[in-house]
Assembly symmetry: C2
Homo-oligomer: 690 residues x 2
């Protein structure tokens, strides 16, 4: 799904449906939470009190079964342990295993030749003081268990050790995906591999590869070479690269589901093959965002012959059983304007464009069946007469998802997991794929196979991909894997730094790329003020950003709004400080800490202004920094009223209300992440009145 | 050249010959230095007062000549400017050039089909207030000028601009290389490309690829597949990758000179082809460092037939006119022990192993000539009877270099530019390829074609490659490019942050990789104390490190000694503070600044100790941190004596001398980078007595 301005408003109202998630009570649930920092939390865990030391004698051994995939995974795990500990850790056969410090992998079989939704990903992991045993029915289960095992590594003054534990684990959902849109911004193979490496760390198992859209057709077609030659700006994946990526994903227990969006979002096809269009061309490559107004023509047999040949070629590259045809946002005006289409619809008794799309989808289902694939499409494809073996991916929200489930369609939820909405992580974390308010029966709910994080890339380039994906997606991955009852946001935030570190170890550049961008933008070292500033601000969500400043594929995504991350830890920490202060305004240490923080904000306006004099891209941050300085003063004054238990004069309250209202207006593509907390403080000073 | 323990001592005395470099007067030279931050400094520059603004209308245009290589370079330059400024900057034809904010590339021709030492790399760059013109005889000259142009970008409160300038530039030396040893630690293709990208930023023009050594044969041979199959641990470059890298280098105006070291450093050849050895095998792959004791057998015609075929295959991959055969450190005992070799030597009247190696080299010269290549070898190949078209690369020092030059050999200097010596950058910067004390005539000096930075990789893995290479190599690159008179270390250090930023922009990970390593080693965020600690310490040089703790190829290079960088900026800054204080002990601000710094050290011991309790790899830093804390106290006390102009009691002086002596002993693979400065302070307190 794109997120252009024209659908931002429709979106806003749809989004309201999701806000229930934020009022779920956090913390204190039935799940016996662990003091460890595992993410995703396993289905069950016990016996965490002991230690299994790790030293140079540590070994990983396999039982009667092993294969290349398992061996490679063991090598990678040992490499990561070596890099953490400094020990040379080598493979060893079971026969020469040392008496302690061993992980034994007892794996029954390879698993499915082509990984599918039936793959058994469960495992048990029993870490005792001398030996750990991982049992899994498949290599994929062993991969999941290995990641958990790596998360058990800890250390103290005596050295490294694994926490002992008895873990019995399996995923709540079989479909735990991440969609990457490579049409709006292409990503090099190295970035895709890095993404797969990090997805594996948090047990995501579907890489949904959005390969074509209005703004680019990103895969080599030998049958129809003008697709990639004219439908891209030279940025596409060769078939060899695709095979390499699919194999790379399989090594990590990740399926690759390709998406070729049609009949809308298909402008890039038409540049080389205008005969597929429902209105005459010519069509040209564009770097602009938006939705195409000319759709594929579903009325011509030649369209289906084309797609048949195309699918024949492409299915040889993507072995997965599922095939995503998009099907979203069919605007339809090109069908309305086409005499040929209109004649066809009349002749076949089709009352509306929905009926025509249904006909198109029916033809696609048959074509896909011929090529051994099950169709996946977005909400809009759902019709009572659509075959029930089609999988529905929902971006429109829980009601739409519920409709599909009640009709008996398998489905996966994506709406709440759009990263371009720049939400608080806790909000996306708490959004459940089986929303309570939809009141599904158990049988209906069983149709919900999972969810997908969506990385739409209008504002995601090569450089800031990782800062957009991690660590938020780790929390969402836990939503997809762990029991429903695991929903303590505070505990999720407690565990987030550890998984963030594991993600960096696996190659993620979410820390380093941000730093490199800050250095380039600031034209030198990152000052403490810049570091602090970026802890207090957030980027605009896609729609608001596009309203504030138009961008295209060509726009360098190098502004502060492209560097800032949503839900920065420092802002969360500030919220905590506010709550501590409000809970006990007399606590001197808390008060002093908060005062010092608020005072330091008052230097940010001048600091960012001064920086902008030699680093013009920071001009974007000047107004926001000035607002933060003003809010620091507001906060200090509010604290004074609260501490004195005095009522501020109405004039003060009016002034602060105006200032808060002004601070609410985004400036320079930035929002103030700490605004809610300051508002809370002012409200408390006002005796609880906003 | 390796740098094993056994040759460390010989090395130390040779190195003394170079220390002259440090006593050269810095600053105040004939060169009219620029206030800009160009590196390398151009041969001449004037008219720097004005500005040419850059905005979205800025264009790069070409004159009558262009080619793919130039177009690609322009695209890369525009991309870098876009990323710095946020403007969409596109190619445009000269005809639609805007009235100002333009760079016009007036290039006469492509340059040599295979870049050689005769390539014309000169250019003139005239940046006026409205238009810049770059004239170059070749595309390579244009590449050099483009890098200079990018370094002229600056900004103020009004926006971005280029400094105006008239630059007339050409390299002092035609051979400006960087040797990368991929035998001791292999580097993936992505890292090699990153290295080439960054080399181009500082106008280095030779990538010397040390492809085989004792510890690994790193290139695919189809003629002799057991070379890479048995001579490596699976880590080697395919021929397709080699062709890709050679083409990638040419795009950036960089030659690729391969080195296949022989007849010593050739153990990895013998594993698959023991018949080449002068003593019977079998030979096995080893991860241990050191020099092989069995050399190739120069007495067998089969050896030359093998090399003939091998060169025939390899020269098709490497078009460069030069071919490096190594030739260093022939220990010779395997020749002494071989009856076959001894018989041959007797029969041919060879008095010593030197004569045999000379015979071998003579045969190699002839083979290389047959394949259209000129031989390059290390110092040891020099003999009065060796053909003068052989190029000598000197690692043994200036006297050896002078000997070669006096005999009429072209040569390049490497000895002072070994990065594994972990020197101060200024020391390597000031070491001139034409050393004064060798008293060469102009004609002899003309034989010195340049120099090479050497990256031997016993202690350089994939992760810390960039922190070992940059930014030190940028200063050395200036030594190779800029006029001899450019030798103001302070000004080099002033310009270093700007080039460091440009290197990061071009892909170098010298900042980010260090941070990622610190996070993993510290098992979390980098604390201010850890950051400070790493500003005050340095890694051990290779020899001392190996004496302190043996490593092999398998050793994870993740200890603080692998993360710390030589010559950290904070330590230089501390030296400056000391000098300021000593120059005027009454200056309150300087005194307070220095006192605060010394006091903050006193927290480092406890902080690193505490960190080591949960991050065991930091145990390596505990003793050094404790020493720093003690030195902080020493420094404060010394300041007090100096401020009071009082003489400390002998007991105090004795105690400090003992403490300083203790601090001199490396602990945990670390040295204290600020030790000299503290010693200076104590000496001053002692009234100038050490």
């Amino acid at each position: 799904m794109c997120f252009p301005i024209q659908c931002a408003r429709a979106w806003s109202s749809l989004w309201l449906l999701f806000t229930f998630a934020t009022i779920f009570p956090a913390g204190g649930n039935a799940q016996a939470t662990s003091s460890l920092s595992l993410m995703p939390q396993p289905a069950s865990i016990s016996d965490q009190a002991g230690q299994m030391p790790l030293d140079a004698n540590f070994r990983i051994t396999t039982g009667h079964f092993s294969d290349d995939r398992l061996e490679h995974a063991i090598d990678r795990a040992l490499q990561r342990l070596s890099d953490r500990t400094g020990y040379i850790l080598l493979r060893a056969k079971a026969s020469d295993a040392p008496p302690h410090g061993e992980l034994w992998l007892d794996v029954a079989a390879a698993g499915m030749p082509v990984q599918g939704t039936q793959e058994d990903e469960s495992y048990t992991l029993d870490v005792g003081p001398q030996r750990a045993v991982l049992h899994a029915a498949t290599v994929v289960g062993a991969l999941r268990g290995l990641e958990t095992f790596l998360q058990l590594l800890d250390a103290d003054g005596k050295g490294f050790y694994f926490h002992t534990a008895r873990i019995n684990d399996h995923p709540r959902f079989v479909w735990r995906g991440l969609l990457l849109d490579v049409s709006r911004h292409w990503q090099p193979v190295a970035n895709i591999k890095r993404l797969l490496d990090t997805m594996a760390v948090v047990k995501l198992n579907v890489f949904h590869w959005h390969l074509s859209d209005y703004q680019g057709f990103r895969i080599e077609s030998r049958q129809f070479p003008r697709l990639h030659e004219l439908g891209s700006d030279g940025l596409y994946y060769t078939q060899a690269e695709v095979r390499d990526i699919v194999a790379y994903a399989r090594e990590r227990g990740i399926r690759v589901v390709p998406e070729f969006d049609m009949p809308s979002h298909a402008h890039s096809w038409l540049i080389g093959y205008p005969e597929l269009a429902s209105l005459p061309g010519p069509f040209t490559f564009t770097h602009q965002f938006g939705i195409d107004s000319v759709n594929l023509d579903p009325t011509q047999e030649s369209t289906y012959r084309f797609l048949d040949t195309f699918l024949g070629e492409m299915t040889s590259l993507f072995p997965d059983r599922y095939w995503h045809i998009g099907g979203d946002e069919v605007e339809g005006s090109s069908w309305d304007k086409s005499p040929r289409v209109q004649a066809f619809m009349k002749q076949n008794g089709m009352k509306d464009n929905g009926a025509l799309q249904a006909y198109f989808n029916q033809r696609l289902v048959e074509l896909l069946e011929k090529h051994g694939r099950r169709m996946v499409g977005w909400d809009e494809i759902v019709r009572p007469d659509l075959r029930r073996d089609v999988l529905v991916q929902s971006w429109l929200g829980p009601q739409s998802l519920a409709t599909a489930a009640k009709l008996g369609f398998d489905s996966v939820l994506s709406g709440p997991y759009y990263l371009d909405k720049m939400e608080r992580i806790s909000k996306q974390y708490l959004a459940d794929p089986v929303p309570d308010e939809t009141h599904l029966t158990a049988a209906e709910a069983a149709h919900i196979l999972g969810g997908e994080v969506c990385v739409w890339t209008e504002l995601v380039a090569q450089e800031n991909l990782d800062t957009r994906v991690w660590p938020a997606s780790a929390a969402i991955a836990e939503r997809f894997w762990s029991p429903r009852e695991v929903r303590d946001s505070d505990d999720m935030y407690r565990r987030l730094p550890a998984i963030s570190l594991a993600l960096e170890e696996a190659g993620s550049q979410h820390h380093t790329a941000m730093d490199a961008m800050l250095r380039r933008t600031g034209r030198g070292e990152i000052s403490p003020e810049v570091r602090q500033f970026f802890g207090l601000i957030e980027p605009l969500r896609l729609g608001a950003r596009e309203e504030a400043r138009q961008a295209s594929q060509l726009t360098p995504l190098v502004a502060p709004g492209d560097i800032a991350i949503p839900d920065p830890p420092a802002a969360r920490n500030f919220s905590r400080q506010i709550h501590e202060f409000l809970a006990d305004p007399g606590h001197a240490a808390h008060r002093d800490e908060l005062t010092a923080e608020l005072r330091s904000w008052q230097k940010l306006g001048p600091a960012i202004h001064s920086l902008a004099q030699r680093a013009p891209l920071f001009q974007d941050g000047e107004e926001t920094a000035a607002s933060l300085s003003a809010l620091g003063k507001t906060g200090e004054e509010a604290m004074a009223w609260i501490s004195r238990a005095a009522t501020p004069p109405p004039e003060w309250s009016r002034q602060q209300a105006a200032l808060l209202a002004h601070a609410q207006i985004p400036q320079g593509l930035l929002r103030i992440a700490v605004l809610d907390a300051i508002q809370e403080l002012v409200k408390a000073a006002n005796g609880g009145n906003p």
